[in-house]
Every structure is written in structure tokens, then in C-alpha cells.
């Protein structure tokens, strides 16, 4: 998720450059399924701390759009379909959760029908059976614009009758609930990743009797989430839902200090194949001192870290001391860090220049700046291995040691119109004074000098401009200001759910080109008429499009779909070349010996809180 707090946590990594580059290599990509000490048993509490919750939607599932938030929801909420909370591609395959099975799809792909398992109840204080109307109500909340559902686009225009409106939630014509156990979705267009969209927390059942009280943006439902999963917010049973005025925030959640989850007495393990729910609860506190968090893990007063990346000294200790190594968990996330080139801006409107840039960039230096191989695997193409893996062998611009290849870059540059003298250097006037956009924090700033020097080798002289992360994104997600920036190294992209299209349509489709807020920073698929509308100049040679390739994959399912998107990735890498993929990120977690079962959730990209076990006897 772009807005995950990982960006700030990555700050500490800048200092780690070189230090752990070799030390961690043996851990790269590995994820042990359990820690060495003790057998897996139920009980205890996972005690952890985080520097900030970093929520962007007040923790209300309708709007919360951070991977961190999704991690907590895996303990609190159940959806029609969900994930097993494990590492690797298997962790991205949806399974029935509240639904009895994977549902039935009509032959035209427009109607999805799901039946709910019986006997699943909301947690206290609601304690009644969850019905299809509760799920429908969650969808109705998505369309109430004042609640700011941040990923409403996955449903609006896809399910019939779904569109944003002002005022409280109201009926959606495209969702039927013929009986309390059945829900039917009528779509406007076949959407084969629709089941994956039903795994997202905004679609989890919401009891109207509580949530109807929260129609205003402040003091929202996030403080009073009614559980459907194995855990509930501490103090949920004390909440008085008899009227809106009696509902007070649950004691277990304070956005500025703690989140305490305890067992939901109404959860029945026999209805839930996806969550082991070993621990009795979670105690997540805010600790502003990241060093302190890791000292507490080391001293045993905390059981493990969450999203914070360990400080360099801690990382070095855990990666070099063989007795500590089992407690260092390095797991690949579904995120690509990349350099984006703007196809509207000369000289990047020429594919030969873009290819030459791919040849010249020293990715190993970038990886070192980020802290070495434990931070991530060098990316040879766009989609991370967990999405639509083309395999490590596919690397169209692979160079020895990933250090870049001047000869190949020059050979490519000689074919460019910006190198009329065939010198292997970009010699036209447009090759100088290009803006390179970057973030103003390490490790981005640490990697900058190397990239600037690499580009200079082929005659591309850039002026680096560093901005705060949010400002940098705003610059390139606005088409007009983005057109001032030739090349940007600030973005990264993470998948919302396990479908390769999350790495295609939002990033490379002309549909996602909007004046403000586009995520297609390279402007792939821009037409001259669109450029005119947006008020930006359009290159004489045009801009390649990936629309037909992407659209061809959309109706496909299963392996066909994966193979098709692998083709899109290939097409983008060889025929469009909008990016220089830098690396696929890893999540680094450190646990104490008290963690007896380690689990990583590929879906959220963080520790699987719903499946870990501890040997402590702490109460939440």
C-alpha cells in the first residue's frame, strides 16, 4: 500500500548501507514457519509496539487503506472470502471465510452468489447471528461519500447501482439478500477478480445498529468496531448499543497509545479454517523510540516487532549471530520500488533512451543504499514474484552483478534520435536539465548520487529535486505538474490483493489517467486528445499503450490469467519500457524466543497476527 508507514520506517535503513549487505544474504527471502523453542500451544499474548498506527481512515474498515490496518482486521473481521495468513503465493489465494464455498458465478460472469455459514455471530455486545444484510450494509457504507471509502473504485461502477452519494448509506440495487444466509451481487461487467475484492475489510459485515451512529467523519466507527473474527477490541462487551448517545469508544483502542484485542467469546473455531488464533490476545502499544522497541524484544518484555524495520545495529546482530538468526524473519512483500520515466517528456519519449536507462542503472548500488539484500530482491521486471512471477531468469536488462552495462546502454542510445552523432550519449539539448524527482529522506537520498552519475554516463544530465514523500507523489500524480518531471525515483507500488491486475490497470492503463490522482505516472496509453484535455504537450512519435494487452487478460481466470499478465509484464518491459524496476521489497521482523509459531501473511505483507503463537502467559 502506498500510504503504509513503511516509508518512514525505511528511514533507518539508509544508515545500514553496506553494513549488512553480505551478512543478510543467507536469510534473503526465507521465512521460517516456526521458531525453535517450544511446541505450538494456545494462550498468551502477542506483545508488540509500533512507532505509530499510521491509519488514514480512523481505523474504520470502510476507509482504512493501509496494510497495517489490514493486519489488525485479520484478527477482528471476517469477510465472505479471505486468506490463510501464510507466506508465498499460496497466501494470496482467496478461500471461503464467512461463505460456505467460493460462490457460484453465472455463465455471463455478471452474477455472483454466496451462501453464509450458519451460526456465526457478531462479537459482544451485539451477539446476534451475522446475516447477508450485514454484508450488504457494509457495501452501502462504501457509497456514503462522507465516510470516505478509499477503495470504493473496486466496487463503484462494477456492482450495479453502486456509486458515491451524499447522506447516510442507502439501498444498492445490484445486491440482493433473498434470505439471511444468501447474498447475490449483480455486476455491470464481467470482473474475474471480483472474488478477490470480497476479501477486503471494507466488505466485512457491519451491524447497522451500531454503525448507523457513525455517519460523520470524526470519532468514527473505528473506535467501536464490532467483531466478527476471533478477537474483539478490549472493552467491546462494555459498550452499550441501546442508543447512539450511549456508545462510547471501546477502552482497548486509543489511536494515540494502544490497541488491545482479546478473544471474541462468540467466535467458533469450527467455522473458521483460515485462522489458528493461538494467542489469547494482542497488546500493541505506541512506542516512539524504535531502538527501545527492539531492546524490549531482546529483553523479552515484548514478543516481536511489527512493521518497524530494525535499526542497523540490531539487524547486524541478528543476521550474524547464529543463536539469534532464527528470530530474524525476512519475507518478500508484494511491492515493487521503481524509477518511473514520463513518456511525454523528451528524451524519455524515445523508447531507445528508456531502454538505455534500464541498461545503465546500477541496481546493486541501489540495493546497498537500501540496506542490502535483506531489504529486497533486485527486480528484473515489474510484477513481484508473488503476483505473476516470470521467474528470476526473466530480466531483459540483466547485467553482470546488476551493476549496469555501459556498452549495451550506449549501443541502445545510438539508435535514438537524441543521439544524432551515434556517440552512445544523449547529445540533444533536451538531454540536459531534466528534473529527477526524489524523496527527501534516506535511503532514497542515499541512492540518488549513484543514479545521477549513471544517467550522466549516457549523456542524460539531471537536476535532482528532493521533496517530502507526499509532496513528491502529488507532483507526479497530477498530470500537469508530472509533465515537468522527466524521471522520478520516489514511487513504489504494492498490491491490494492477490491479483496481478493490481499491478496492471492502475499503473499502465489509460483508464487510470485522470488530471489529479493518477497512479499511471509514466502516462502509458496517453492519446493526443487526452493530452490536449489535460493541457500537456504530446510527443510527435506518440505514446505506446498497454490497454489492449491488459484488457485481454481481464476476463481470464486461474492460470490463464496469470500467464496473460506475465505477458503484459513482458510487453511492458520490452515494448513500452516505462520503468526501471529497482527491487521487490522484503519485510524484516524480529521476534523473541517466546514466539513459538512464526507466520507471515502474504496478503498484508506483515506478520500474520491471527496465526502466530507465543509461550508467554501474559494477559492482553
Amino acid at each position: 500500500m502506498r500510504r503504509s508507514p513503511k516509508g518512514s520506517a525505511l528511514f533507518v535503513f539508509g544508515v545500514a548501507a553496506l553494513l549488512i549487505a553480505t551478512a543478510c544474504s543467507s536469510n534473503n527471502g526465507s521465512s521460517s514457519s516456526s521458531s525453535p523453542s517450544g511446541a505450538v500451544k494456545k494462550g498468551g499474548t502477542y506483545r508488540s509496539a509500533t512507532s505509530s498506527f499510521g491509519f488514514v481512515g480512523d481505523f474504520d474498515p470502510v476507509g482504512e487503506y493501509t496494510a497495517v490496518g489490514f493486519s489488525y482486521y485479520q484478527m477482528l473481521l471476517r469477510t465472505l472470502l479471505n486468506y490463510t495468513g501464510q507466506a508465498g503465493a499460496a497466501g494470496l489465494v482467496p478461500h471461503p471465510d464467512l461463505a460456505t464455498d467460493m460462490g457460484t458465478v453465472s455463465p455471463d460472469g455478471l452474477t455472483y452468489t454466496y451462501h453464509l455459514k450458519s451460526g456465526i455471530k457478531f462479537g459482544p455486545p451485539i451477539n446476534r447471528e451475522i446475516t447477508s444484510s450485514d454484508i450488504k450494509y457494509a457495501f452501502e457504507r462504501i457509497d456514503s461519500s462522507s465516510l470516505v471509502a478509499q477503495y470504493a473504485f473496486y466496487y463503484d461502477g462494477v456492482i450495479q447501482g453502486m456509486q458515491q452519494h451524499s447522506g447516510p448509506p442507502k439501498n444498492i440495487s445490484g445486491i440482493d439478500t433473498p434470505d439471511p444466509q444468501t447474498i447475490v451481487f449483480h455486476l455491470t461487467t464481467p470482473t474475474s477478480d471480483f472474488p478477490a475484492r470480497l476479501t477486503l475489510a471494507a466488505t466485512a459485515p457491519v451491524p447497522q445498529e451500531v454503525a448507523k451512529c457513525f455517519t460523520k467523519p470524526s470519532g468514527g466507527y473505528g473506535n467501536d468496531i464490532v467483531s466478527s473474527g476471533p478477537y474483539m477490541i478490549q472493552g467491546a462487551d462494555q459498550m452499550d448499543p441501546s442508543s447512539c448517545s450511549t456508545i462510547k469508544p471501546m477502552s482497548g483502542y486509543d489511536p494515540t497509545s494502544h490497541l488491545i484485542l482479546v478473544r471474541n467469546p462468540n467466535w467458533d473455531q469450527s467455522t473458521d479454517n483460515l485462522r489458528k488464533a493461538y494467542v489469547n490476545g494482542l497488546n500493541m502499544s505506541i512506542d516512539s523510540n524504535v531502538d527501545d522497541i527492539f531492546n524490549k524484544i531482546s529483553s523479552g518484555s515484548l514478543d516481536g516487532s511489527f512493521y518497524e524495520i530494525p535499526p542497523p545495529t540490531v539487524l547486524q546482530k541478528y543476521s550474524t549471530d547464529s543463536s539469534l538468526k532464527p528470530y530474524l524473519h525476512v519475507d518478500p512483500q508484494n511491492t515493487t520500488y521503481y524509477i518511473s520515466m514520463n513518456l511525454l517528456v523528451p528524451p524519455f519519449d524515445d523508447i531507445h533512451v528508456r531502454k538505455a536507462v534500464n541498461w545503465i542503472i546500477d541496481k546493486s548500488a541501489i540495493q546497498k543504499a537500501w540496506g542490502g539484500p535483506s531489504t529486497g530482491t533486485i527486480a528484473g521486471h515489474i510484477m513481484p514474484p508473488s503476483m505473476a512471477d516470470l521467474g528470476a531468469d526473466y530480466n531483459p536488462y540483466g547485467t553482470p552483478g546488476n551493476q549496469g552495462d555501459l556498452a549495451k546502454a550506449e549501443a541502445e542510445m545510438k539508435q535514438s534520435k537524441y543521439d544524432p552523432g551515434k556517440t552512445g550519449k544523449c547529445t540533444a539539448s533536451v538531454c540536459s536539465g531534466i528534473i529527477l524527482l526524489n524523496r527527501n529522506e534516506p535511503p532514497w537520498t542515499d541512492a540518488e548520487a549513484g543514479i545521477v552519475a549513471d544517467l550522466a554516463k549516457i549523456g542524460i544530465n539531471v537536476k535532482a529535486r528532493e521533496m517530502e514523500s507526499g509532496a513528491a507523489y502529488q507532483t507526479i500524480d497530477t498530470v500537469k505538474s508530472g509533465a515537468q518531471v522527466g524521471i522520478s525515483m520516489n514511487p513504489r507500488w504494492g498490491a491490494d490483493y492477490g491479483d496481478p491486475n493490481t499491478f496492471a490497470q492502475p499503473l499502465f492503463s489509460s483508464d487510470s489517467l485522470i488530471p489529479v490522482g493518477t497512479s499511471n505516472y509514466s502516462m502509458v496509453g496517453m492519446t493526443s486528445s487526452m493530452a490536449k484535455k489535460f493541457g500537456v504537450s504530446y510527443p510527435a512519435g506518440g505514446v505506446p499503450s498497454a490497454d489492449s494487452q491488459i484488457n485481454a487478460c481481464l476476463p481470464k481466470t486461474g492460470q490463464d490469467r496469470t500467464t496473460c499478465f506475465q505477458g503484459v509484464d513482458k510487453y511492458l518491459m520490452e515494448d513500452v519500457v516505462p520503468w526501471v524496476p529497482m527491487f521487490w521489497a522484503n519485510q524484516v521482523t524480529i521476534t523473541s524466543p517466546t514466539v513459538t509459531n512464526w507466520a507471515f501473511d502474504q496478503f498484508t505483507g506483515f506478520i500474520a497476527l491471527q496465526n502466530i503463537a507465543v509461550s508467554n502467559t501474559a494477559t492482553p
Binding site: 500500500m1 502506498r2 500510504r3 518512514s8 505509530s52 491509519f55 488514514v56 481512515g57 480512523d58 476507509g63 487503506y65 461519500s145 462522507s146 470516505v148 478509499q150 477503495y151 470504493a152 473504485f153 458515491q164 467523519p217 470524526s218 470519532g219 468514527g220 473505528g222 473506535n223 489511536p255 494515540t256 497509545s257 502499544s285 505506541i286 512506542d287 516512539s288 523510540n289 531502538d291 527501545d292 531492546n295 524490549k296 529483553s299 518484555s301 521533496m467 517530502e468 507526499g470 509532496a471 507523489y473 502529488q474 500524480d477 491490494d496 492502475p506 485522470i514 488530471p515 489529479v516 490522482g517 497512479s519
Partner: protein, 322 residues
């Protein structure tokens, strides 16, 4: 005197209004980021951004927003008086958020200021009355060390030595008296108090020493001695009283400033006070919290200045206010 105090209080109100205006202007004219976009998620479509702006009240021109803000401060809002709005990040009322955090910062500031006065002033006095002695050298060595040592380093070292290695001090975090009792609360506050106090104590020791040495060379001290008053009385009654007046000024300002938060100490010891809140709110573009903290901090400084001026009148017979 009362007329003077009332006049000053009215002035404080204007100063505060001016500061909120400056904060607002800075927030709207200078910022590189639009907070609405920050809260609009991964795909900040214009519709979502517009809705977030509406929810946050950012859709109105900034002067209207400012006037509304002032109105709420004067008349209160849905969360009570003074109306400080709600936090963009947490959705909580800023008023209760600030009060909650202020309790932590207050506990830290009061404790630390007592500690630094207890350490700094005696060291300064001893150094001043025996200049050049071993006590003076030790005292000034202490001062030089802690004036130079960065607070974050001292804090981390204290934690490492006394908590992590020796296990004689409690770890980080704030443990409210209401939940954990006085002992646990104080046990967790001792290290932050001492760490924050050391740097101030060092400054105060140097200042008291310098002032006292200067005062002890004044004519009226010679007169006092000539009258046969005991040296102890000369120092404590005649010397120290004059030497301490600048210290009072400094103390007032320092103490007031701490209400803006001791950012580093709070961060190192994970005390969820105003300082940490200010850093978080600046990072998140949380305007209502930023303005509220600025208000609290400026109020504390201006108010403490007033107190200092009043105390001055008692300490220094030459000062009278009309």
C-alpha cells in the same frame, strides 16, 4: 499592579490570535502537501479528495477557515470550550487530546524543573563562592559535559545502562498515577526527569555561578561585609537574591517552552506528551493539532513571562509596575 496584569493578559490574547493567524498562513501558503490528499488513500481521485476536504473543512477559503477557528475558540464547538476541532489523523477531539498529552508533559516539566533547580543552583553557588577550587572545577566540568552532550544520547545511555544493563530503573513509557499508583508513575518518570534536567542544570549552574561572582563584587556586598554580617548571610540574603533574578527570567521562559513539548526526551522515553504529538501532527499535516499545540505553547510562554514579571517586582525592589 492589577491594572498592569489585566493589560498584559489582554495583550496575551492578541499575541495568541496573531500566532494562530501566522500558523494558519504558514499551513496554507507554505506546505508542499495537501493534507486532504494524504488522507485520500492510494488512489486519491478528485472526488475522494473533495470529500476529505469537505469533511476536514478545508474546502473553504483559508480566511473563512481561520475566522471559523477563532469563532470556535471563543464560543466553543461540539466538543466543548475552547473549541479546537478534531484531529485529522485520529478523529479525536483536539481539546481532550491536548489535555491528555498535557498531563504527561506537565508531569515531565514540573519534575524536571525541580530536579534541575536542585542540581543547578547549588552547584552554581558552591562554584561561585569557592572559584578555582576543586568543587568549582568539578561543578563546571559537570556543566560543560552536559551542556555539550546531546539529550538523545544522554537519554539512550541512561536507558541502556540503568534499565537494559543494570535493571535498576524502570523502562520507557508513561504510567498514569490513576491506573498504576504513585510509585510506578514516579519510577518511570525518574530517568526522564533527570535526563531532561541535566542539560538545564548545567546551564543554570553556569549562570548562577557567573551572576553570583559578579554580584559578590558589588559595592553593597562590601558594605554588608563591612557591617559585620556573617558571610553566609551576605551570600544568601544579599548576594543570591540579586544573582537569582536573571535565573527567574530564564526559568520562566524555559518552563513555559517545555509546554510546547520536550520532543527529544519524550521520544526517547516514549512519553506520549505534547512534544511527540507535535512531531506526529506535523508529519501528518494534522492542522487542528498543530495550531492547538502552537496555542498551548505560546500561551505557556506568554503566561510564564507575565508570572516572571510579577515575581520580579517582589525580587527586585527597584521594579514597580503601574
Amino acid at each position: 499592579m492589577w491594572r498592569y496584569i489585566i493589560r498584559r493578559l489582554i495583550l496575551v490574547v492578541f499575541v495568541l490570535l496573531f500566532i494562530t493567524l501566522i500558523t494558519y498562513v504558514l499551513f496554507f501558503v507554505m506546505p508542499p502537501t495537501d493534507p486532504a490528499v494524504l488522507f485520500a488513500g492510494k488512489h486519491p481521485t478528485p472526488q475522494v479528495i473533495a470529500q476529505v476536504k469537505k469533511n476536514f473543512g478545508l474546502d473553504k477559503p483559508f480566511y473563512i477557515q481561520y475566522l471559523l477557528y477563532v469563532k470556535h475558540i471563543v464560543l466553543g464547538d461540539q466538543y466543548g470550550w475552547p473549541g479546537l476541532g478534531f484531529s485529522f489523523t485520529t478523529g479525536k477531539a483536539v481539546r481532550s487530546l491536548i489535555l491528555e498529552k498535557l498531563a504527561v508533559t506537565f508531569a515531565l516539566s514540573v519534575g524536571a524543573s525541580i530536579v534541575w533547580l536542585l542540581i543547578g543552583v547549588p552547584i552554581g553557588i558552591i562554584s561561585a563562592i569557592k572559584p578555582g577550587s576543586i568543587y568549582d572545577r568539578l561543578g563546571m566540568g559537570f556543566a560543560l559535559f552536559f551542556v555539550s552532550a546531546p539529550v538523545f544520547w544522554v537519554g539512550l545511555m541512561f536507558l541502556w545502562i540503568f534499565w537494559y544493563k543494570l535493571h535498576i530503573a524502570a523502562g520507557t513509557g508513561y504510567y498514569p498515577i490513576s491506573q498504576y499508583g504513585v510509585f510506578t508513575w514516579a519510577n518511570h518518570m525518574i530517568m526522564p526527569w533527570v535526563v531532561l534536567a541535566l542539560v538545564f542544570a548545567a546551564f543554570y549552574a553556569r549562570m548562577v555561578r557567573g551572576n553570583l561572582i559578579e554580584t559578590m563584587h558589588e559595592d553593597y556586598i562590601r558594605t554588608a561585609r563591612a557591617k559585620g554580617i556573617s558571610e553566609r548571610r551576605v551570600i544568601m540574603k544579599h548576594g543570591l537574591r540579586a544573582a537569582l533574578t536573571p535565573v527567574v527570567t530564564m526559568f520562566g521562559i524555559d518552563f513555559g517552552l517545555l509546554f510546547g513539548g520536550a520532543i527529544i526526551t519524550e521520544t526517547v522515553f516514549n512519553l506520549q506528551g505534547i512534544g511527540l504529538l507535535s512531531v506526529q501532527s506535523v508529519n501528518n499535516g494534522d492542522l487542528p493539532v498543530i495550531v492547538a499545540i502552537t496555542l498551548v505553547a505560546s500561551f505557556a510562554v506568554t503566561f510564564m513571562n507575565l508570572i516572571v514579571d510579577i515575581v520580579y517586582a517582589y525580587l527586585d525592589p527597584r521594579v514597580r509596575y503601574e
